[in-house]
Symmetry: D2
Subunit: 181 residues, 4 copies
Amino acid sequence: MATNTLYLVCDMINDLVHADGPSKKSYGPELARRKTVENTATAIAKARAAGAKIGYVRVGFSKAGMFKLGTWGTEVHPLLAPQAGDFDIVKHRVSPFYATSLDVILRANGIQRLYVSGVSSSGAVLSAAKDGHDRGYDVFVLDDCCCALSEEQHQAVIEQVKRMTTVTTSAQVTFHEEFQL
Amino acid sequence: MATNTLYLVCDMINDLVHADGPSKKSYGPELARRKTVENTATAIAKARAAGAKIGYVRVGFSKAGMFKLGTWGTEVHPLLAPQAGDFDIVKHRVSPFYATSLDVILRANGIQRLYVSGVSSSGAVLSAAKDGHDRGYDVFVLDDCCCALSEEQHQAVIEQVKRMTTVTTSAQVTFHEEFQL
Amino acid sequence: MATNTLYLVCDMINDLVHADGPSKKSYGPELARRKTVENTATAIAKARAAGAKIGYVRVGFSKAGMFKLGTWGTEVHPLLAPQAGDFDIVKHRVSPFYATSLDVILRANGIQRLYVSGVSSSGAVLSAAKDGHDRGYDVFVLDDCCCALSEEQHQAVIEQVKRMTTVTTSAQVTFHEEFQL
Amino acid sequence: MATNTLYLVCDMINDLVHADGPSKKSYGPELARRKTVENTATAIAKARAAGAKIGYVRVGFSKAGMFKLGTWGTEVHPLLAPQAGDFDIVKHRVSPFYATSLDVILRANGIQRLYVSGVSSSGAVLSAAKDGHDRGYDVFVLDDCCCALSEEQHQAVIEQVKRMTTVTTSAQVTFHEEFQL
């Protein structure tokens, strides 16, 4: 059982990744081409089977507009629906570590290994990788569960995170792999 | 207008301060004797009139039991009901500053002056005072809007916070007072 | 070997605890009466023998005046002299956790158990206890290695930290005791 | 006078940027080609003339080896020598914001505008830009005062920071420019 492991699914909310949401023209084409949502569903299922914990990061605000908490837009995409016992981490800025409950969740659950994916590659995912690495976690990035505005932009992030994380995919990941730098 | 001012109302939730809640035997007698809820209602009304922002800190968890989010127990006491535009700050530990959205709220709203009260005096209030002082905020404590398990315990906290905050009361407070150490 | 244990010696610097320093009239009498420096020397020796790591917290600034870094005033008291391999944690405010290297030291060394003492009881020690508790560390306070401006003030702190830490003394401590709340 | 402005010079220490240091083969060629040290000297002079504060970030450890504090290797490059009143910010990990004194320096000096440059572009500079942006600072990046292992790597970072910072150069910068996103 991957008891010291958490899979952090970043900003896979309807406003950002649903085909009917307001980002259908910005992130939509890349999400469809990369099958980011479907690959994330695969990875989440494998994480659950391996006994890893799941944390859903959601950017959200109380004010009206995009990313309004309590509306469809900030719910996790229905294909990736959270289950009882998963963690819900609301953030207001880019990094899942800044001004959120993530630190207390990681400490209280003895997490040492952190798998990360989501949108965008250069926003939440890169910040999670950098901040997690600084704090001493073994960070793994699930390449095909991420998405940026272009493949080039995504690849630039992968080049960067390779220096501090282990990069894998939804097909390869076991949630038991060794951390290698 | 006290535009750079926020009143942080700490843990005034039903599980802790309602006469019908599970803390009626622990904090109940002191809350009744000190009129903590009523005094806090007075202070909140004055804060709103002065144009200060209001932040409600609520300890809360997603698991079943006391302090469960989404239940009556973690709602703010009905006499102190939040209004649209107030801030909702959920915490998991004692200090309102640790692993919460408080930092982003204070920064995004240009807050420099922080009024604090709530339960318990030695828990959330003392931590908010100490952490706020460390971070360079001008901190004011509303003495009669706090409560501990005994008056002696509360007074010990007041003695401590006097060295780093300005102590006032719901009757005296204007939310425009000068910070004095 | 207490490999997951760190003893945090707070602000035992000449400006605050040396008999010839500028605090000889403020903290001096209580330090002498409580034998705080001598007791701390005993505790440090026991910590070293037990294999615990030692971290010296020092308040210090680059500007002229009291607490100036690089001067005698901010050196650790000669009876408590640091050794190679000990950690030096410079802070600018009250809590040893705020804006210091403490977090990275604790994480990088796998510390879970934190022993704390120093001056003042209500300043650095209380903040370290509260902040350490919030972050999930098992915190122990060494009562007779602390000092406040009066015994009454110190006792008020001990009453508070009892609720979240295990309180012990330089005579009793083994650095292997079980954490009990 | 740019009183609310700080120029954060990241990791311009001998071990990383001196032509005779251990990084002469890794960063050396790009540093020489881009004239990073010379450009930074220009920018520092302009920052001083504009009344901005200067903060030198230095990665450093107490243990023997590269980046050992107290040795030539962790001193700032002689062409960029700090002056009295500048800030010295020692870090242990990548981001200048994590487990350092930066937060207390920014708060205590009322800093709102943060200029950033240094090595490497994808390490300290990108982390400073991301973390500063999350915390609500207006962040400016001085392109020609940065350096990565290749121009391609540096440009990938510039593409990313463009989305959250204003990018300028040592020739153009006035330390009074308007922040534009």
